[in-house]
């Protein structure tokens, strides 16, 4: 129980301390990373063997109080977030670290609390069972994320931050309105208690299918989709993620969309499974498929590395939404639903690790070259071999080649697609993989082409190690998939085993 408390409060306390303590933000962040890693290493085996652990805050049971629950889904994402944050904090030291003798600068002061607050908000979003508490966490996440986009103060990043803020604010409002309607209708905001009311299941004793419930579900889904940057709400993502400094981009792209996606999973699989209809599932899947193609095509057309990586996120987020049709179907018992659920979580984890690695690689190359244009990348492979291999390995995970975590994900999802007779989604998965190979080929080819005249600024080794470790973690996720696989199964909602609708 103390471990759960540590998981959600340590980053927040660290952020508060980073506000007052001058020029030592990096060390405070490091301490909190160590603390969270310890908490996770206590919690993960415990949860994997004994099942989910609840933390009833203040001792007030829902519906009056708020409960945090450490289940497999929450811990898997919290673990991924901790890995990414650790790597990012190491990489950000060159940009925002300060020696205690120098005067404090704006970036050195602002980056650490913002990154830590974002992390704290993420952990709350993964663990909380209360829809309104999740709203507050999402707002904290949004404010910190937008600030990180704007932190360089360039006109492009300010414009990107504003666009992001406008989208995110509307998303928050839609989500809040939905949560308010659910509370008004059912007198609780707790996901478990909502599930117990069988909302939408008119056949049950307590169930009903009310206009306000359908509206609430639609509004919350739309709001969360905006925050996850699902096509067609993706317009804010690429400029925002590409406009931020590399460590911030890594957090933004790898972690931030995952928070709203986890809430979306919990909403449909745990709280309101009775409200799904085949048309809704197909729509969400269709938007996901559109995102895969549209994001990939846009990634193919970019001439800047960070934009390629950012548009790739649009495409990769599309895969996540395939869980809805894949876990659906029309027969009774659906053995594939659990596979689809697990596969999508693997996809999210693998994408998080690989994408963070790629943005950190881009950061290394920006230091070496001075910008992130593809044309400037000639000869980088021989100049920065370690970073090059990190990028390549991350690419393997992104394209979902074996033995990466991405491959495990695609394998599970493909199996689900074929088993449920929904071949169309299998086609999306396969074509998407080809497209991602295509858009990653261009920077790779450019980096491997020889250019003997090119001179690069030296890059500290510590900066190059972090992305490599992250990329290796993405591979390890596939090689040692047994442990995460069983962790994800703990506390898996019933709908993820029996299928939606």
């Amino acid at each position: 129980m103390l471990a759960i408390v540590a998981l959600v409060t340590l980053p927040l306390v660290a952020a508060l301390m980073a506000v007052v303590v001058e020029r030592r933000g990096e060390w405070i962040a490091l301490l909190s990373v160590i603390g969270v890693v310890i908490a996770l290493s206590v919690l993960m085996p415990l949860v994997a063997t004994d099942g989910p652990v609840d933390l009833v805050i203040g001792g007030w049971q829902a519906p009056l109080g708020i409960t945090l629950r450490a289940d497999g889904l929450a811990l898997a994402f919290a673990g991924m977030a901790a890995l990414v944050m650790a790597a990012v904090l190491v990489s950000a030291r060159t940009l925002y670290g300060a020696s205690p003798s120098e005067a404090e600068t704006r970036g050195q002061w602002a980056f650490w609390p913002l990154a830590l607050l974002l992390w704290g908000a993420l952990n709350v979003a993964f663990l909380s069972r209360d829809l309104f508490n999740l709203y507050v966490a999402l707002e904290l996440l949004t404010v910190a994320a937008v600030a990180l986009v704007a932190i360089e103060g360039k006109r492009e990043s300010l414009a990107a931050a504003l666009r992001y803020l406008m989208f995110a604010l509307m998303g928050s409002l839609a989500y809040l309105l939905g949560a308010a309607l659910l509370y008004a209708g059912h007198g609780t905001l707790d996901i478990g208690l909502l599930a117990a009311r069988d909302i939408g299941d008119a056949s049950g004793a307590t169930g009903s299918r009310r206009a306000s419930d359908i509206m609430a579900a639609g509004l919350m889904t739309a709001g969360l989709a905006v925050k996850t940057a699902l096509f067609p709400f993706h317009a804010w993502l690429a400029p925002a993620h590409a406009g931020a400094p590399a460590p911030a981009s890594a957090i933004l792209s790898a972690l931030v969309p995952k928070a709203s996606f986890v809430i979306l999973l919990r909403l449909w699989f745990e709280a309101l499974p009775g409200l799904t209809t085949p048309a809704l599932l197909a729509t969400l899947g269709g938007l996901g498929a559109a995102a895969v193609f549209y994001g990939s095509v846009l990634a193919l057309r970019q001439n800047r590395l960070k934009l390629i990586i950012a548009y790739s996120t649009v495409a990769q987020i599309g895969y996540l939404f395939l869980v809805f049709p894949l876990a659906g179907g029309d027969s009774y018992a659906q053995p594939w639903a659990a596979g689809a659920w697990t596969g999508v979580i693997f996809q999210a984890l693998s994408h998080g690790l690989a994408k963070a690695a790629m943005f950190l690689c881009a950061g290394v190359w920006i230091i070496a070259v001075g910008n992130d244009r593809l044309s400037g990348m000639r000869g980088l492979a021989s100049a920065t071999p370690m970073t090059m291999s990190a990028f390549g390995i991350a690419g393997v995970a992104l394209v979902a080649l074996p033995p990466s975590g991405g491959f495990t994900a695609k394998y599970l999802m493909l199996t689900a697609a074929f088993a449920s007779g929904q071949t169309i989604w299998a086609v999306v998965l396969l074509l998407g993989g080809l497209l991602s190979a295509a858009y990653l080929y261009r920077p790779l080819a450019m980096a491997f082409s020889r250019d003997d005249d090119a001179t690069f600024a030296p890059v500290p080794r510590s900066l190059q190690v972090a992305p490599l470790l992250l990329a290796l973690a993405a591979i390890l996720l596939g090689l040692g998939s047994q442990a995460p696989f069983s962790l994800i199964q703990t506390g898996r909602p019933a709908a993820a085993a029996e299928g939606l609708e």
Binding site: L64, F132, Y135, V136, E139, T142, V143, V146, A147, A150, G153, K154, R155, E156, L158, A159, A161, L162, R163, L165, M166, L169, M170, S172, L173, L176, L177, A180, L181, Y183, A184, A235, A238, P239, L298, R301, L307
Partner: protein
């Protein structure tokens, strides 16, 4: 009590619609923030009214607490938004976002002041 709750709930729904229209149609960023706040208070009214429709006692205290939290959070977002708009205006001299196509980021044109009046609505009084 029942009647006023219903009335204010409907008023909240109307405010959400109004604010949404304003948010979509207007390009001026400050006006969009105003529209955001109008939607927000519409949501709160709807929420509060739904908790006040039982005539047994006063408005649901949990709903009230959530609304207070919501108002504070909205203010925080608004204040940061205003700061962002000012920073953007300081760098570009503009008060709205440039149109942006997906494929390529067009560079911002600097230095052109925004004097556009986005709404063309007749004065209802005359």
């Amino acid at each position: 009590m029942i009647a006023s709750a219903t009335l204010f709930g409907l008023c909240g729904a109307a405010l959400i619609g109004l604010g949404l229209y304003g948010f979509v149609v207007q390009a001026h960023l400050l006006r969009r923030l105003i529209a955001f706040n109008i939607i927000g208070s519409g949501i709160f009214l709807l929420f509060g009214a739904s908790g006040a429709r039982d005539q047994l006692a006063s408005t649901d205290p949990v709903a009230q607490a959530l609304i207070i939290t919501g108002i504070v959070v909205a203010l925080a977002a608004t204040a940061f938004g205003v700061g962002l708009v000012l920073a953007f205006a300081k760098v570009t001299g503009q008060t709205h976002l440039p149109e942006e196509s997906d494929a390529r980021q067009r560079p911002l044109k600097a230095g052109l002041p925004d004097r556009s009046v986005q709404t063309i609505v007749k004065d209802p009084a005359g």
